[in-house]
Structure formats: structure tokens, C-alpha cells
């Protein structure tokens, strides 16, 4: 079975802090994704990556950056956290057949 893990289930940070959310997949997938989920808005794509050191902006990249130094790991970075970045963050990887496999999510609260 594909396994996608995220570094934290719950995280509380203060405004202005730099925040790292990490995602690791164990199936050698090339494509990885970061989404945020907010009530009434569904899931929205922040960034995705087709391969190591490659990244593409999604629909809402402002205020975020990403890093993919190794194939199995995709990190989401909030350079200076703000209260409007309080959300549920979901990581996914995609294998053959275009099926996306999701991690358990990180619920981030920015105070």
C-alpha cells in the first residue's frame, strides 16, 4: 500500500514565524502536491512538483514556497505565517493511473 506521511497532525504557530510542513511518500512517485482545505471551499492546490528540484505553482501559491530535494520528500514553507494561513494542509502523491494518495493532513493554527 502507498503510504504518505506528514510531519505533524496539529501545529500551532505565531504570526511571523517560519513554518515547515513536511511530506514523505514511500512509493517512488514522481508527482507530489500540496493542498489547503477550508470550509466551503474544498481543496485548493498550492504547489506541485513533477520531479526533484522541479516545482509548479498551483491556484493559490501566494505566501508559500516549496522544496523538493529528494524524490520522496516535498516540503511546504510558510516564510512568515499569517492568521489567514490557518487551515488544514494536505499532501498527496500520484502514481500510475493518475490516482492521488493523500497524507493524513496537518491542521495549522496561526495565532
Amino acid at each position: 500500500d502507498v503510504k504518505v506521511t506528514q510531519s505533524s497532525r496539529y501545529l500551532v504557530k505565531r504570526t511571523g514565524e517560519k513554518v515547515f510542513l513536511e511530506c514523505v511518500q514511500d512509493m517512488d512517485h514522481e508527482n507530489m502536491f500540496w493542498y489547503r482545505q477550508d470550509p466551503g471551499l474544498g481543496l485548493r492546490l498550492i504547489y506541485f512538483s513533477y520531479d526533484v528540484k522541479m516545482k509548479e505553482k498551483g491556484d493559490i501559491p501566494e505566501g508559500y514556497s516549496v522544496s523538493r530535494e529528494k524524490k520522496e520528500r516535498f516540503s511546504l514553507i510558510l516564510e512568515s505565517a499569517s492568521t489567514n494561513q490557518t487551515s488544514m494542509y494536505l499532501c498527496a502523491s500520484m502514481g500510475e493511473g493518475d490516482t492521488q494518495y493523500f497524507g493524513p493532513g496537518t491542521r495549522l493554527t496561526v495565532l
Binding site: 471551499l41 493523500f102 493532513g105
Partner: protein
């Protein structure tokens, strides 16, 4: 951009009841997927169904691509079916566009 609309937004059922969830999309798509998000937040892929009908146990899905909609059927619902159901489409990219979901609550 493409619009993905799901209905109903909320659904409350008693255990054993059947239900149909709908997903409408506003443009031609390459593929469509259905996901279930359990109450703890975990999203699980249910179906990859760009067209036709598929069944998996008590769940089945039908996509009519020419009419731009998909249906998810849940039969003999159980409390473990509770959660949020999302449909998601892509337009010949690897980027999924999600609907806003249907929240299902199944009571014993």
C-alpha cells in the same frame, strides 16, 4: 476556469438507507475521481472514473462525460460511511480541481 459543483451539500441518513451524490462539471475533463474524507481528515480515493460505471462493494459510480456529470451511489449506508465526499476533475494536466464536497452523516 472549470466549475465543479456537488449536491447536496449536506445529507443525513439513517443506517441502511441508500443515497445518491451528484457532481456536475462545466467543461470537458480528462478524468474524474471520487474521494471520501473520514471524520479524522484522511482522504481516500474511491473511484477513478472518467466515464462509464464502476462498482466496489456497496459503492458504485457512474460518469456521463458527454453530459458533464457523475453520480456516486451508496447503498445500505453504514455509520462508517460518514464524512465528506469529494469529486475532483482534471483537464489533461495532473492538477485536480475539487468540488466543495457533500457532508454525509449516517446515524444508527
Amino acid at each position: 476556469g472549470i466549475q465543479v459543483e456537488q449536491s447536496p451539500p449536506d445529507l443525513i441518513l439513517q443506517e441502511g438507507a441508500n443515497s445518491t451524490l451528484r457532481c456536475n462539471f462545466s467543461d470537458s475533463v480528462n478524468n474524474l475521481q471520487w474521494f471520501h474524507q473520514n471524520p479524522w481528515g484522511q482522504l481516500i480515493n474511491l473511484f477513478y472514473i472518467p466515464s462509464g460505471t464502476k462498482q466496489n462493494g456497496r459503492l458504485s459510480a457512474t460518469t456521463v462525460a458527454t453530459e458533464r456529470y457523475s453520480l456516486l451511489y451508496i447503498s445500505s449506508s453504514q455509520t462508517t460511511d460518514s464524512g465528506v465526499y469529494f469529486c475532483a476533475v482534471d483537464m489533461w494536466t495532473d492538477k485536480l480541481i475539487f468540488g466543495t464536497g457533500t457532508r454525509l452523516q449516517v446515524f444508527p
